[in-house]
Every structure is written in C-alpha cells, then in structure tokens.
C-alpha cells in the first residue's frame, strides 16, 4: 500500500472487487460437486458409486487446486497441496479399489469436501462484500433520479438508514452512496485476502498432513540413497577385487618365482622383478582412480571451488568457473555437489555439442546455488536418460533440487540448489 499512488489503489480495489465476483462460479461448481459426492457416496454399496466417486473426487481436487493457485496469483497467499503421493495401482478391478481407498483414506479429500460447502457459506460473503458496497453506493448516487419512481411505486423509500422522500434527502443519499463506493474500493483487497486466508485454513495441508508428506519424501530419498551407496560399495568391491587385489596376488607370485630363480637364472629373476615393479605401478594407478571416484583428493584439500576448477581443467570443453562461497558446505553436501557438477559437465561434453560452459557457484539464503550453462544445441530433457534424473535423485537426499531449462537451439541451463550451512573458512597454513 505505502508508496502506491491513489490511482493505482483505486485500480487495485476495482480489480479485486471484480475478482471477488469471479470467485462465485467456482463456489457454485463446488456446491454441485458437494451434492453429487454426497449423493454417490452411499451408492458405493450398489457399485455405481465405486465408479463415480473417484471421478467426483478428482474433479473436486482439480477445483481445489485451481483455488490454491488462484489465491497465490491474486493475493500471494501460498497454499501447498496436501494430497498423499499417488502410489502404484494395479490394473483392473483391484486397481479401481486401490485408487478409491487411496482417495477416501486421505483426510485432504474430506477437507476438500468441507471446503466446497463452507466456501459458499462463508466465502461468498467475503468474496462479494466489496462489490456489494460499490453497487449499493452507485444505487445511492442515483437516488436523485430514482426516489420519485420508487416511492410512487409504493416502496417506503429507505436508502440504508436514510429515508429518501425529498430532493434534499436524495442529495444526502448521494454523499452516503459515495462513501459506500469509497469503502467498497478500500476494502476489496483486504476482503480478497481474507477469502484467500479462509481458503488456506481449509485447503492447506494440516500439520499432520505436512508431516506425512515429509515422511513420504524422506522414505523415498532414503531408500534411493541406501540403494545408491550399496551399488557404490559393490562397484568398489569389484574394482578392488579385479584390480589392485589381483595385481598384488600376481606380484606375490612373481616375487616368489624371482626368489627361486635368483641362484639358477639371475637374468630371468631380474626380468621378473622389473615386471613386478611395473605391476605395482599399475596397481597404484588403479587405486588412485578408485580413490578419485570415492572422494577426490582435491575436494578434500581445497573444497568445492577449487575441485570444480580442477574438473574444468580436465574437461574437453572450455569451462569458465566463478565461485562465491565464504566457507565450506558439510562434506557430504560438498561431495554431492562435486559429483553433480562433474556429471552435468560430462553430459554437456557428450550430448550438447557445446564449446563453452559456464559454472557458477554461489551461496545465498541458506542454499548452495550451482548454475551450469552451455552454448550447445539445447533440447535436453530430464526423461531422455541423460543421467540428469539420477543427479536429481541424489541431490534429493539432501533436499536439493535440479531444474533444467533447455530450449531447442540452446542454451542449456542446469540449476541445482542444495540447502546447507557453510562452515567458517578454513585458515590456510601460510
């Protein structure tokens, strides 16, 4: 309000008053859905309800979601969706029953239904009050022309608390009407907001529903994390088994053979020893690659910024890195972010046809923001199996998110966000 010109305020008031009126059709639709649902619920006993109720519930959810979005768009009151996540349904009759169960055991379904009824009872008053004031005001302002026909038609001629039976009274009515119009414009935004708050009280997730949604999310991401780390351990075990471990066995055998050849055939023994030395270098090389895959040394040494710069140096693309981090995120977050950036860059090199990539690391408002932008051909999708979905899942373990913007023709922007705290910067030993 403050700082807004009078013209803007009048416009906002007018718009909001009309919006209030625009709420009415959905209220009516809500009432229709309420009546239908109440009718068909008992009919589930004879079967027909089983087929119709899910349709009605879905329609009600659609209407409620529309109301949620509208309240945010019009008044900024954010209303989250409260519904339990949709599980997997079997096909055929069992699936229909499962779906019905899923809908009817969700308290949000019943709160939606309560809302369709209450919105007409309480919401209607809030929604049209402002426009009502304005209409009544306009009626008052027209009193000089209307009072005669009205009284002649036998009406008592009351305008709210004013008995209009003369021209002077009619003029008073004009002023009163003007006051009503002003009030109507003034209260319109507040009324619309009040309606949104009322909507939220019924349509927002309850504390309990919020908890349930959170638990469902955590269960999902936890099982993904457990799967991922189990797969990772299996990979490490296999790499060690086929790589360094096998080489050490071979080296031991070679050394044994060299020992026994020492006297009889020193030349062959020397040959074996030199082979063994080469094998040990290869084993070290493999271990080094393995360690890099588990926890890259440069990440441990220097943190995310320099670790990403190190990736940039090894990328076949021209990668420019900017870093604005005042400290280090917790090690698991850092590691997740590192591998995410690495995979996004590998993706860009493989699929995008880009020459240049820009990586930007920032920390703002409790979140680590990572933007990776390439000048490739675009058209990337989370569902094309480019591994972005996997990154998204792994970031999910930390409540992180991944967003992709990749119009045909490029550029492609991958934005990742991870909520975390930064530790105070490490004091360097110099």
């Amino acid at each position: 309000m403050n700082g807004k010109g009078i013209g803007a305020r009048i416009r906002a008031g007018g718009v909001d008053a009309v919006r209030g009126l625009a709420l009415v059709p959905s209220m009516v639709l809500g009432l229709v859905l309420f009546c239908l649902t109440v009718t068909f619920l008992p009919l589930m006993i004879i079967g027909i309800g089983v087929l119709v109720v899910p349709v009605l519930v879905s329609a009600t959810r659609g209407l409620a979601n529309h109301a949620r979005r509208r309240s945010e768009a019009w008044t900024g009151v954010r209303i989250a969706e409260p519904y339990r996540p949709r599980p997997h349904f079997d096909s055929g009759i069992p699936g229909v029953v499962q779906r019905l169960r899923w809908m009817l055991t969700d308290p949000a379904t019943w709160r939606d239904l309560l809302w369709t009824l209450a919105d007409l009872a309480v919401g209607l008053a809030l929604a049209i009050m402002a426009l009502g004031f304005i209409a009544e005001g306009v009626f008052g302002m027209l009193q000089p022309f209307l009072w005669k026909p009205i009284t002649e038609a036998g009406d008592s001629g009351w305008y709210t608390f004013l008995k209009v039976d003369s021209d002077s009274r009619a003029v008073m009515a004009v002023f009163l009407g003007m006051a009503y119009v002003v009030v109507g414009f003034a209260i319109a935004p507040a009324m619309l907001k009040a309606h949104a708050l009322f909507t939220r009280s019924l349509l927002a997730p309850t504390k309990k529903a919020e908890m349930l949604l959170r638990v469902a999310h955590l269960t999902d991401t936890r099982s993904a994390a457990v799967d991922a780390s189990a797969a990772e351990l299996r990979r490490i075990e296999r790499d060690l088994h086929d790589g360094a471990q096998a080489r050490l066995v071979a080296m031991g055998m070679n050394l044994g053979a060299a020992e026994s050849l020492m006297e009889s055939n020193p030349e062959a023994a020397r040959q074996l020893l030199s082979e063994t030395r080469e094998a040990s270098a290869k084993a070290l090389h493999e271990l080094r690659d393995l360690v890099r895959g588990i926890h890259p040394p440069v990440l441990a040494d220097r943190g995310l910024g320099d670790a990403v710069r190190a990736i940039a140096l090894e990328s076949p693309l021209n990668v420019e890195v900017t870093v604005a981090l005042s400290g280090r995120p917790p090690a698991p977050v850092e590691s997740a972010a590192y591998f995410a950036v690495m995979e996004v860059l590998t993706n860009a090199a493989k699929h995008s046809g880009a020459r240049n990539v820009w990586v930007d690391l920032r920390y703002r408002a409790g979140r680590l923001h990572i933007d990776v932008i390439d000048d490739g051909r675009g058209g990337a999708s989370l569902n094309k199996g480019t591994g972005l979905r996997g990154i998204e899942r792994r970031l999910g373990t930390f409540d992180g998110t991944l967003a992709l913007d990749s119009p045909e023709g490029g550029p492609t922007t991958v934005t990742m966000e991870l909520p975390c705290e930064l530790s105070s910067p490490k004091t360097s030993p110099s």
Binding site: R277, L284, H285, V298, D301, R302, A310, E314
Partner: protein, 214 residues
C-alpha cells in the same frame, strides 16, 4: 647437494633418505609436517626440497602450501613435489611464478631410481620435472584445439617429453633418434605453436606449459 625432505610416512621417509644419500645427497632436514617443513626450508635454503603434498596437521595439501609459501619467501627455491595423485590445478600453481626449479611427480616415479634422481638433479639445477601424467592429460584435453591438431605423431611425442622437462639429448635417447632430429622436431613444434624457441630447457618447458594451459 643439500636436500630438505618432507614425508609423513616413516617407512617412505627412511626409504627416500637412503635413496638420496646413496646418490650423494646430504639430507639437512627430514620432517613430517607442514609447519616444520616451512621452517626448515626458510632456515636451510637447501639446493632442493623433496616434499609430499599431503602432510599433517590437516592432511590436505599442507606440503604444497608450505612449498609455495617458501618459494614466495625464497624466490626460485627448487622444490620437487611428490604426490599419490596429480592435479593440473596444483601443477599450474607450482609453475605460476615462472621462475622454474619445480617438479611435480607421482610417488611411484620413485620406483625408477635412475629417473627419479635425474629429476631431483634437474629441479635443483633450476629446471622442471613434470609428471608424464600431468602432461598427457594436458595434451589430451587440448588435442581438438587447432594448433595441437597440426602436430605429427612424432612431434606430439617430443612435445610430451619436452614438457616433462627433458633435454634434447635425453629425448633423443628415449626415442632412439639423433639429437639433430629432435632439434628439428622442436623447431617445427615451436613454429606450429608460435612459441619462441630458446636454448634454456626450463624456459622452453614453461613456454609450452603456459601455452597449453591458456
């Protein structure tokens, strides 16, 4: 030759001491952590320092940091850094001051005693000794770029050895060609890359690395 050695694993430290002493080096200090290393380097100003990257107390890049700091205080102090892994980022930081006398090798290069001692000597003399792995990654990363693509297979081999810090004579020996042939290759490489040739091995290496890193 006076050497300061920093390595936290006693087994490896003793091995290195024995190896270097066997080749006529005088170990003036053998330390096992970053702060002591810095003190020893500034105090003894050795002919060359052989330093492990990862040292206590932080077990991060303590050794590298101490070496870089010592080179800031004693410009041109020759440092050979050993590590379990090589990072181009660290190679860059070591080369950044452009004054030479730096080496960066994987620890297992120590297995080949002859080459390792040669690298120590080269660094002590103000030259460079870059691990082949650093160089090959650098080259792999740059192959698609225009000037490198113009090099022949042989020229790439020569460039790789040159970037490690080898002299023309050493390159000739390794590739079983005459020194004259090597110098013909190097002239051609410098021409194609637009790097000014110079007699100084070290400058040559730095120029190539600076070019590749750009």
């Amino acid at each position: 030759m006076r050497v300061v050695l920093a390595e936290d694993l006693a087994l490896l430290r003793d091995g290195l001491v024995r190896l270097l002493e066997a080749h006529g080096c005088d170990i003036v200090a053998a330390v096992d952590n970053g702060p002591e290393l810095l003190k020893a380097l500034v105090e003894h100003k050795p002919d060359v320092a052989v330093v492990d990257v990862r040292l206590p107390p932080t077990f991060t890049d303590e050794g590298l940091q101490a070496a870089l700091e010592a080179r800031r205080r004693v410009p041109g102090l020759p440092v050979l850094v050993l590590s379990q892994y090589v990072e181009q980022l660290y190679a860059r930081e070591l080369l950044a001051d452009g004054s030479g006398g730096v080496g960066y090798l994987l620890k297992d290069r120590v297995f080949d005693t002859g080459q390792f001692v040669e690298a120590v000597n080269r660094v002590a003399a103000g030259g460079t000794a870059m691990d082949p792995e650093v160089i090959s990654k650098l080259l792999a990363h740059n192959t698609q770029k225009a000037p490198l693509a113009q090099l022949t297979e042989r020229e790439r081999e020569v460039l790789e050895l040159m970037a490690q810090g080898r002299s023309n004579a050493a390159i000739a020996k390794q590739l079983f060609v005459s020194e004259g042939a090597v110098s013909k290759h190097t002239t051609s490489i410098f021409g194609k890359l637009g790097v000014h040739a110079s007699d100084d091995d070290n400058r040559r290496v730095l120029a190539v690395l600076a070019y590749l890193n750009a």
